[in-house]
Symmetry: C2
Subunit: 206 residues, 2 copies
């Protein structure tokens, strides 16, 4: 059985939990507390030298890191990874957008504001810059969704899961989604998919 190393509030971890739930794949869940340094121990660094969750253990000693690469692996052979090359490329395009233009600007402020007791000098200086960039990412998404139900070719894919994870909790990073009506409608569409689970659910049938 798959074993998922994860930190429950993590949106990156939630992407994997959500997809596993939607594909009805059982898994063992190993909870690590990143605030206590549990992803920087020698034991965990031997599993993922980059010291990050989520980490999926496929079989003993065989690990996959990077949430969006894990989504790619799990979605093979399912409708969440489209058939044709252009659609597949567009799925990856949005997933790279998510990791470069979205997650560092929306997830990171959420982590700082919700999980740290206070901000250091760098974080204080970076917060307004990241929030501006985060709003730019949300604007790009809202424009794209103006005439589309989902991000790629009208079909629910792992690009939607990747972007949903931190968008639906963006308010915890200080973002107001009021002006992004297309994004809000899309959030409801994603949350209406079969076998949806909320980010707060950390107990799994498996």
């Amino acid at each position: 059985m798959y074993r998922l190393y994860d930190y429950p509030p993590s949106g990156n971890g939630y992407k994997v939990r959500l997809l596993l739930s939607q594909l009805a794949i059982p898994f063992d869940y190993i909870e690590l507390d990143i605030l206590k340094g549990e992803t920087r121990t020698p034991e965990f660094l031997a599993k993922n030298p980059n010291g990050r969750i989520p980490l999926l253990e496929l079989e003993p000693g065989n690990y996959l890191a990077e949430s969006n690469a894990i989504l790619f692996y799990l979605a093979q052979g399912t409708p969440l990874w489209p058939e044709n090359t252009l659609a597949r490329t567009q799925v990856l395009q949005w997933m790279f957008f998510e990791q470069y233009s979205h997650e560092p600007n929306i997830a990171t402020p959420r982590f700082w504001l919700c999980h740290l007791p206070e901000l250091n000098t760098y974080q204080e200086a970076a917060l307004p810059y990241k929030q501006e960039q985060g709003y730019q990412a949300l604007t790009v998404m809202d424009q794209h969704l103006a005439n589309r139900d989902f991000f790629v070719q009208g079909q629910y894919t792992i690009a939607d899961i990747a972007l949903y994870a931190y968008t639906h909790v963006a308010h915890e990073g200080g973002f107001d989604l009021e002006q992004f009506s297309q994004v809000r409608r899309w959030l409801h569409r994603v949350a209406s998919q079969p076998n949806y689970v909320p980010i707060s659910q950390t107990e799994f049938a498996g």
Copy 2:
């Protein structure tokens, strides 16, 4: 013929130029100056709403953004995109590592130090943090390469191209590669591949 919108010093653009050269695919080259705002004009934003290069025009009006997604598209059916699912996932794992843990911490300092007349308050505060994170990324790469010629299954893939682009110019971002002997040997291996072109080459047979 493909048309590549690019900024010549960009490592993200260079990834695409290098792969096109190695696959001997001719292309038109449209040079934009990001310092003059040429990727933020209404005309360019109509092509890529995220306002970034590289952008590959497949045919008139059909655009692909995100350098690593473009690599994925171009490498289909070639040995640079492996055959089996686990190897493909590992290629993507390293490409997501590149965009999340490597590029923002190595390419961004390079851009700030080489291309901006002076740093603003945020950049001043962020630079040491990014350089520390950049060294962590290089350490992860060096460890991984200790007993490997290339990043995934001993084979030259688009993961190597993605990571090469900003690693081989990391010194321009203030990074010293002296302590990373495995990385330096791997840089030589990549530069020895057939049809290699340097980042500074901006004239193309096409």
